[in-house]
């Protein structure tokens, strides 16, 4: 009996330890995430999205690049269906993370799977998959994932709130209208690191310019498809 209790205690202690390790491993990444959360809050406010809606988006959507994209497309007066389609296309990459992490979460309950999937952002995936790929036989790696994911989630909510507050202090004549485009440049350009990604970016950008006048912002979807096709073609060549 004492043995069993001891085992259970050490079990929960190592779960807590994994949780804290995961949160700690996420910390350096948060330094890069927090400014984006704040910029999102400022720009959403500048785009006259209410504080409640801007904050809600950070937990309902909980995906940086599609949140920026939604703010931009709302300002351009894009039809709802095109915003939803573009959001879907941008976030499809998460299916890759899902596929990559699935073999490690197979043994977990459905509740765990739902929670960890909600937390499966680029940054939490990057930290969790490194832990899963280590060959040591720790049994509580899902707690590590949870710690990393919750650390990121908390940081995203708090930095959004800080940004919304800052946004209400910024005079409207500052003209933050171009800052979103600069944010996209900051996200996209560092990801262009080889020939296929360069050709993908150039062809998508070119298509977007040529198709600018298409109705319902169809040019954006067309540009994305051309850019993806060119990237695949260039890589396979």
């Amino acid at each position: 009996m004492t043995d069993r209790m001891e085992t259970k205690e050490s079990h929960s202690r190592s779960a807590l330890k994994e949780f804290l390790f995961g949160a700690r491993a996420e910390l350096p990444i948060l330094l890069g995430v927090a400014p984006f959360g704040m910029i999102y809050g400022v720009l959403a406010t500048a785009a006259s999205i209410s504080a409640l809606n801007a904050q809600a988006m950070s937990s309902v959507v909980f995906a940086g690049s599609s949140q920026f994209m939604l703010v931009q497309l709302l300002e351009l007066g894009t039809p709802a269906i095109m915003m939803i389609l573009t959001g879907l296309v941008i976030n499809l990459r998460h299916a890759l993370y899902s596929a990559s992490i699935a073999p490690y979460t197979r043994h977990l309950s459905t509740a765990w799977k739902l929670i960890l999937s909600y937390l499966l952002t680029d940054e939490a995936y990057a930290v969790a998959i490194m832990r899963y790929r280590e060959s040591n036989p720790v049994r509580h790696k899902h707690w590590y994932f949870l710690g990393a994911g919750l650390a990121l989630w908390t940081c995203w909510q708090l930095s959004t709130a800080a940004g919304i507050f800052l946004g209400t202090q910024v005079p409207p004549e500052w003209g933050l209208d171009f800052t979103l485009a600069l944010t996209f440049i900051a996200l996209a350009v560092p990801a262009i690191n080889d020939r296929p990604s360069l050709l993908s970016a150039v062809s998508a950008g070119g298509t977007a310019l040529l198709a600018w006048n298409l109705p319902y912002k169809l040019g954006l979807i067309a540009a994305a498809l051309v850019g993806i096709a060119v990237g695949i073609w260039s890589e396979k060549r």
Partner: protein, 104 residues
Amino acid sequence: MSGIWIVMLAVGLLTFATRLSFVLLLESWQPPEIIRCGLRYVPVAVLTAIFLPEMLISDGSLNFTLLNPRLIAGIVAILVAWKTKSALWTIALGMLVYALVNLL
């Protein structure tokens, strides 16, 4: 319920479904190579398709002149992002140049 909430809920649910897909349903099916390969280019393609027209189109027409503050600030930001890989420097210097050119 306003339009923004419909969009927000739809994008949120679709994002959640995407993240959940393999974890809950398709545990043993791995996506084919062509899909993996294609998804790698999604962020770069979509983001460029959004920011390039923002730099070049003003008042509904293409503006390639060097008097276009968005074009100049955008080019500076692209160079800064490429050299430093820092989001903060990219946005800060881009905003500074945009403000300066607008003053001219």
